[in-house]
Symmetry: C2
Subunit: 333 residues, 2 copies
């Protein structure tokens, strides 16, 4: 295992300490239990957004904490759900009196632990809603999930709902907007290499030099099939076809096209995939109104990519464009 | 070779097309020869900043084109200098009548080709200045360089000079500011893995499972020595010690601490390195006034990191903080 770490059991704590040291004006780190809040939390009168999940998917979610996006993020151990006490503590820390919305990726542990935390928070008198994102069209169930997995669509939901929350939306409207994003977004990914969870110390699966895992999950869980490595244009076709068919996306739709890196794939390759996906979208009659390209929801050092397509409304575009000031997504602020 | 590409000889052209498709409001791509300009170029009355270099270091430099940073970037083939005709065409395209400053990384081919382009531009009546960045303390000369190599300090020079140019600095002041950044910045890097140039098709060197290359260059050229893999805190010490000694940095100095990923190292590890480097800086009596953590000057999919330390003045801080609107660095705009 070749990693820039000190000890496997210190990876998350030390990375969080590094994040806090790097972004003192944007975020504040709480420990025991671990969670990150925006530096000015709680924001009085604003609905607070809380997300979280296993570590190893950086910058998700801690990198998305800040003005215009998440109020708090709860990082679990690597590829492990955060605990209910983390989520409860974060929920209470950011509640500004207008309620809290949990944005949860659909993994069994995440869903259970966020639900338990929400129940406990409600017992303490807080107003808590939740939306579970399940945008991955690759598989119906997986090693970690009943139903579809939550992947890249979560980044878009967090930004769009963050913009709306900053603009004053109440909890019910925010939950409705988040549900609308969830209903309008689809994703699919593939891997060229495995990754190594630090406390396991060896790759989570093996791929031949000419193989790729198609429909992979962000924890390296198996996808739809193992296939021969294809050129980037063909890879983009393989990812876009099931996405386009699933919603389905229709000619005339405006979309946000998000090409994500799994962590070990260089940006030059992601732009090659983006070019191909953009052309496929155009041929399908879609208007790519907004774009995102880069490493936003990763699987440690895994090489690979995922494509996420979101059908946009005017409101979604406005909230996407709204100012955001987080460690990993910033504009207009 | 496992890459998301179509053909080795199309990598740069297709990635540039993808970039242009992803960021239509920010940048415009010119082809034959290839260069990227900010969408509103030329900006009348503003000094234009032009940089460039081999591709494979993304987002450098194309990702830094836009308001508040570069006016143009000239991407060569992978790990290959841009040609004089690219640089000349870009220089002419962005000249707004107030002159053009070339910011050049110190590699022999880059320096020669930028000089040739500057000479040709001057013959056509343009006012052109140049600063060569050479911040790498690892080696005095290398396979690609007479003198020290230009690495991470270039990102900081481009942002700070970009801020000053936007604020109206003239060519002489900008060249002086860029020279001051050059004189105040030092870097050092290491690699855990090699990378593969697409048209070569095999890794550019081999490292054992317990080895790292210390003082590596961004093209994988050999560094100071090959050593045994060390924990992240020790790695940070090994990189920081020669940086701190070289300028030298003194107690009381305010610095920008930049922990860069080489492309294949996940963000969670970069934050672990940042934590350690931040603590070393603090022990040395430095105030880390600004930070940058992520993949900004890479070597394709190489795993590894570099640390860059810049001694800040009030003016540098103001220009660093100024709004920037590029594909890969954005805030306040």
């Amino acid at each position: 295992m070749k990693k820039l770490i000190n000890a496997p059991d210190k990876v998350v704590d030390e990375a969080l300490a590094g994040m806090a040291a790097a972004h003192p004006g944007l975020i504040t780190l709480h420990t025991e239990p671990n969670f990150i809040v925006r530096a000015d939390a709680p924001v009085r009168g604003k609905v607070a957004l809380v997300s979280g999940g296993g570590s190893g998917h950086e910058p998700m979610h801690g990198g998305f904490v800040g003005r215009g996006m998440l109020d708090a993020a709860c990082p679990g151990a690597v590829f492990t759900s955060p605990t209910p006490d983390q989520v409860l503590a974060a929920t209470k820390a950011v509640d500004g009196g207008a309620g809290v919305l949990h944005i949860v990726k659909n993994y069994t542990g995440d869903v259970l632990n966020f639900e338990m935390a929400a129940d406990l928070a409600k017992e303490e008198g807080l107003d808590v809603g939740a939306v579970v994102i399940d945008d991955d069209v690759a598989v119906q169930d997986s090693l970690y999930t009943a139903g579809r997995r939550g992947v890249g669509g979560t980044v878009l939901a967090e930004k769009i709902c963050g913009g709306a929350a900053e603009a004053g939306a109440d909890l019910a409207s925010l939950a409705a907007l988040c549900a609308e994003v969830k209903a309008s977004v689809r994703s699919m990914g593939l891997a060229l290499t495995a990754c190594t969870v630090p406390h396991i110390g060896k790759p989570n699966f093996a791929l031949g030099e000419d193989e790729m895992e198609f429909g992979i999950g962000i924890h390296g869980e198996p996808g739809r099939k193992r296939v021969t490595l294809e050129p980037a244009d063909r890879v983009a076709e393989m990812l876009m076809a099931p996405i386009l068919a699933d919603l389905p996306f229709k000619p005339g739709d405006r979309v946000l096209l998000f090409v994500n890196g799994m962590g070990g794939t260089p940006l030059i390759e992601l732009y090659i995939v983006f070019r191909a996906a953009h052309e496929i979208a155009r041929r399908h009659g879609l208007t790519v109104a907004r774009s995102l390209v880069g490493n936003y929801i990763t699987s440690l050092e895994m090489a690979g990519t995922s494509i996420t397509l979101l059908r946009l409304t005017d409101a979604m575009i406005a909230h996407w464009d709204a100012p955001v000031l987080t460690p990993s997504l910033r504009w207009g602020a």
